[in-house]
Symmetry: C2
């Protein structure tokens, strides 16, 4: 069982991807296939001692850039590293794909090559957020801008299985992101989604608010990809700004500069808690395979952890459990939705 | 020109409201009318030295609770403090209303009693967010869950005037909140809103992402009230969680506890930057009058500053400028939208 790493897509490619892959192979014993321009990959890899590591190569002559359209990965650049990586997964030569490239293109390539899982209309990108008492999984944070209720229900099922199988939550609590906890709140989408979720076997707790993403009230939060993306970028931006503000204040006086030296470790621990690199990447849920989407600016640690999570995901057979949960959770809801639409 | 303060609505009413009102009268010379249960108001007020302050009373026998429906403020509780406060504004006995009560009820009462401004279909609640280089005004963060493009255009006009007249931005930059900066991103609502905004005389810069709310890239961000509410609650929750995480880390070792003592001032300055109490309340824009909505858990400082901003808002005749800008900004857009719908 190998992990195919698209080494050409990220902002600091292929350096960061290859360093992260070497680290994952060494620390976690993950068998790796590096996918990209063979000459560049070999040149970069020569900088590391890879003795005893299971690292293979697969040449890909093209790269999907950050400003290419998602469909370029599918239609035009057939020999792009991301497309080739998913082809390896399709052919059984890899069990998972990790990429720090254009996330829209990664999503499109994954869906095009591996196809959607049965029972899933819209694959979703799921992102982990740190809380005081664990982590909250939010989906979709990615591509699905205009969603129907049934899509959010499918997100909930996928999120439940991921939280249970990969994150270790016993009976994951599911919430629908809304503008208030009362049932009277929400918009058309959230109200219909709630009604459907109540009929499933999921541990659905109702509406949650923006603040609840960070207080550990639920394990899984579902929303459409527009709102999810705002949530993701807002959180990243706010943590970054808070960090900058604190640094500026710390530098403002000699006293606080001295104080900062004393609490440097506390700050480092805090940074580790909120650092996306600890979680690596965001899984693309709902395809027939495993895709892990990393931040374009990922560092080595993020790539390494993303490879580790992708490997675990594949090893644990999460997708099989998802398929099972999909049929068991809401046998009736799907048909009714289709009748209604 | 007086400010009517609903002293019954907040979580710590009437204590906090009255202390805040006394402080605003003393520090900024704002003439105040306290609206609420006369007996309780007088009992509370007797604890302060109000010599020389212009403070009047208006009795109101009812209170709209946090769990009452918004329409209760309008239909059932006609002698509620929030309703009576807006009646004072309607009769010219007050130029502005400040409340820390049920925000939905405040919005409903304001709209019902004072009516919507000509050219505005949906009044909006606007919230200030701190950045490294100033503040960003986001609207709507409140009541308007399912919006049409023309509503967001009206938000943009109101936000522009508020940013210019109250916050002092010379030529406020306006952004539409979206899931990416590229024109190809966004949902149906944001795409149509952008097309309309491009035809106005506003300084419209295009799409902004969640992170841009905190980096000072624009002065005004428009979105529907569902997304805006998620933004507001998420930001409050994240800042709170970050604070808790940092405190926990600081307490974890003696070294960092000592360090904390040295940088206490830096933390206090930081807290001041992100503290909502500095900005007081969120203006309800688009009614024929001035309404300032405060957090239910507002402290004295928040109430004081909200009264100050409400007073300035009224003094500067912001609503007249809004009316002017509305007709000048997009003479054509409104008609087209109406034809289309």
């Amino acid at each position: 069982m190998r992990v195919a790493v698209d080494v050409m897509g990220g902002d600091n490619a292929p350096h960061v991807e290859i360093e992260g892959a070497v680290a994952a192979a060494r620390e976690f014993g993950v068998p790796i296939t590096l996918v990209g321009d063979l000459e560049r990959v070999k040149a970069e890899l020569s900088r590391y001692d890879v003795t005893g590591l299971d690292i293979e190569f697969q040449h890909a002559s093209e790269v999907v850039g950050m400003h290419d359209s998602a469909s370029d990965a599918v239609r035009k650049k057939k020999d792009s590293s991301i497309r080739v990586a998913f082809e390896l997964a399709k052919n059984g030569e890899a069990a998972a794909v990790v990429s720090a490239g254009n996330s829209g293109a990664t999503m499109a390539a994954g869906m095009f090559v591996l196809k959607r899982m049965k029972g899933i209309d819209r694959p979703a990108i799921a992102q982990l957020f740190p809380t005081m008492v664990g982590k909250t999984l939010v989906l979709d944070v990615g591509g699905n801008v205009d969603c129907k209720p049934i899509h959010l229900v499918q997100f909930a099922v996928m999120g439940e299985v991921y939280a249970r199988c990969v994150l270790g939550a016993a009976s994951p609590r599911i919430g629908v992101l809304s503008n208030g906890e009362e049932e009277s709140k929400g918009n058309e989408l959230t109200r219909e989604t709630s009604a459907l979720l109540r009929e499933t076997s999921l541990n659905f707790v109702g509406y949650v608010e923006g603040r609840d993403i960070f207080n550990g009230m639920v394990d899984v939060v579902v929303c459409d990809g527009f709102v999810g993306n705002v949530v993701l970028k807002l959180s990243e931006g706010l943590v970054e700004t808070v960090g900058k503000m604190l640094r500026a204040e710390m530098k403002a006086s000699l006293l606080s500069q001295i104080g900062y030296l004393f609490c440097r470790k506390a700050f480092a621990n805090f940074k580790k808690t909120v650092d996306y690199a600890e979680y690596g990447g965001a899984p693309l849920l709902g395809i027939n395979g495993v895709g892990m989407i990393c931040h374009g600016g990922s560092n080595t640690k993020a790539i390494k952890n993303a490879i580790r999570f992708a490997y675990e995901y594949a090893l644990k057979g999460v997708n099989d459990q998802m398929a099972e949960k999909l049929t068991e959770s809401f046998p009736g809801a799907r048909d009714r939705e289709q009748e209604a639409s």
